[in-house]
């Protein structure tokens, strides 16, 4: 039961209350909406990708603290990375949520590791992965249409 008490840690609440990347993005080359019907979380992810590098990114939307903080943390991590590097981080994050990532791998997620305990809160997993799944769908070429 202590999981959730420590779960809303400073990293998470800070990214929720003061997201760096929650804004519109001029010149985005990719844009995709992601929805988690269970919480009503709804985000739109924007990325500016040039020569295989994620030069900039942002998100807008509403939802629970976990979905909003996780999307912001994700953007912190992937901006400046190549798409290949970002894809690797995405794989690690999704495995971490299932409790399958190693400690070394989790370390690569930097502040993203603050969400590791979500694997003990199955009802909230969808919130934590919303940003990453939207990113995954985007890279697989899915569109809002």
């Amino acid at each position: 039961m202590e999981n959730s008490r420590s779960f809303y840690n400073e990293i998470l609440t800070d990214h929720n209350l003061h997201p760096m990347h929650k804004h519109e993005l001029d010149g985005a080359t990719m844009r995709l909406e992601g929805i988690n019907p269970s919480c009503g979380d709804d985000i739109v992810l924007n990325l500016k990708v040039k020569d295989g590098v994620i030069c900039d990114g942002s998100f807008v939307g509403d939802g629970c603290a976990i979905s909003q903080a996780s999307a912001d943390i994700m953007l912190d991590l992937i901006i400046g990375k190549t798409v290949d590097e970002a894809n690797k981080l995405k794989d690690i994050f999704l495995r971490m949520i299932k409790g399958e990532a190693t400690a070394d791998e989790i370390e690569q997620l930097e502040e993203g590791s603050a969400l590791a305990d979500i694997s003990h809160m199955p009802a909230r997993v969808k919130c934590a992965v919303l940003g990453w799944h939207t990113y995954e769908n985007m890279m697989e070429g899915k569109t809002d249409d």
Partner: protein, 404 residues
């Protein structure tokens, strides 16, 4: 000293859990769990079939349970009591059987904006299939339905009115008396969703004057999978079966079927006799306490919770300003904190509440809130439960990083 009813509930006694989600499903007392077991240990055979003694005992249990339910809602006859799985199935039975045969193109169906999806979607299905129109009976921001709101929706074309007795989001009672009298003036039948009212108040179908009434056992301390539909005999007799198969026929030849008498016509297949037997035990347990006592306890606790929440900054309580109008239910939001985060933090403090749209999305939209946290209180809760709930709610904004 007042009795602590938690001792009657195995899940609650000696458990630090604060259970405030009884509007979703109640906890079950020993007597109900024992009744379910007793049926399987002593009376188990396929009811209404076996011609041997055990089979007749099973039938007897099942029919005794029906009689208890009849008394519980003061119906005129056991033929008017149909066992179903839950209120949802009861409402669907009326929609498919009565609705699709008696509602026609151009007719109007009145439902309130407060309805749970289970008393909304079946009627929307009927409207879609028959060409009838749905008219939403609105309420104000506090949940009150006024005479003017009724003027807006009732007309000579109103044929059916489906209304909840107590809102599962706001806990407010709807003006059933007035709605019934309006419906009768239009010659419309009234379907009452009593899923949220039966746990809290005496139900008398004769006084209410409704044509159909539905409730679930599991909100009333009984097991999952047993529910009730009451229908006036004149209406039920005339209605086609909802489900067909075994146990609902009198005779079947290659080219002819004669359906069984009421209520069996609407109870196709092997019935949940153990569930019915345990529902009887649940009703008897409630009678042994009495609705007056239940209401007194709930009123005190709801008032304590309401006043406690009112003292916390950034809390917005949905619904009536008078706690007495909240039948065991308080829905609220906290500025800047999503209800699912509220619920997760309360869970960390071992407090169980519901968060979301409560299967009443049109109402949430009407109230202008995407979702809420709902604390629902029953007579087995204690003043200590409420203290812990209030203390935890009071800490949430701080724990979410807001400075006070």
């Amino acid at each position: 000293m007042e009795k602590n009813y938690k001792y009657d509930f195995p899940l609650l006694r000696d458990n630090p859990l604060v259970y405030l989600d009884s509007a979703a499903t109640a906890q079950r007392p020993y007597s109900v769990i024992e009744a379910e077991t007793e049926f399987y240990q002593k009376y188990n055979a396929n009811p209404l079939r076996g011609l041997y003694e055990l089979g007749m005992n099973a039938t007897d249990c099942y029919e005794q349970s029906r009689e208890t339910v009849r008394k519980f809602i003061n119906a005129a006859s056991g033929k008017e009591i149909i066992f179903t799985r839950n209120a949802t199935e009861s409402l669907n039975l009326v929609a498919y059987s009565y609705g699709l045969t008696h509602i026609h193109e151009g007719d109007e169906i009145v439902i309130s904006i407060m309805e749970h999806h289970s008393n909304q979607l079946p009627w929307r299905m009927v409207a879609e299939k028959t060409g009838a129109t749905i008219k939403y009976l609105l309420c104000d921001s506090k949940g009150h339905i006024t005479d003017e709101d009724m003027d807006e929706v009732f007309s000579e074309r109103t044929r059916l009115v489906a209304i909840t007795q107590v809102s599962n989001v706001l806990g407010i009672k709807t003006p059933v008396d007035k709605i019934v009298s309006r419906a009768k003036q239009c010659g419309a039948v009234v379907v009452l969703d009593a899923a949220q009212s039966t746990p809290h108040m005496t139900i008398d179908v004769k006084t209410l004057g409704v044509d159909f009434l539905a409730f679930s056992g599991h909100k009333l301390l009984a097991p999952f999978g047993i529910g009730v539909l009451y229908g006036r005999k004149e209406l039920l007799s005339d209605m086609p079966p909802f489900l067909s198969g075994g146990e609902m026929i009198q005779s079947v030849t290659r080219d002819r079927v004669v359906y069984a008498e009421l209520p069996h016509k609407f109870e196709a297949g092997t019935v949940n006799a153990a569930g019915a037997w345990a529902l009887k035990a649940a009703i008897e347990y409630i009678w042994s306490i009495g609705y007056d006592t239940i209401q007194n306890i709930e009123k005190t606790l709801v008032k304590q919770a309401y006043e406690g929440l009112t003292c916390i900054p950034h809390i917005n309580i949905q619904g009536a300003d008078n706690p007495d109008e909240h039948m065991g239910i308080i829905s609220f939001t906290i500025d800047g904190v999503h209800p699912h985060d509220v619920s997760s933090i309360l869970d960390a403090d071992n407090i169980a509440v519901r968060a979301g749209h409560h299967c009443a999305e049109p109402l949430m939209k009407h109230l202008g809130v995407p979702s809420t946290t709902r604390a629902s209180i029953y007579f087995y809760n204690t003043s200590d439960d409420i203290d812990r709930f209030i203390e935890s709610v009071g800490s949430i904004r701080r724990r979410m990083g807001y400075g006070e």
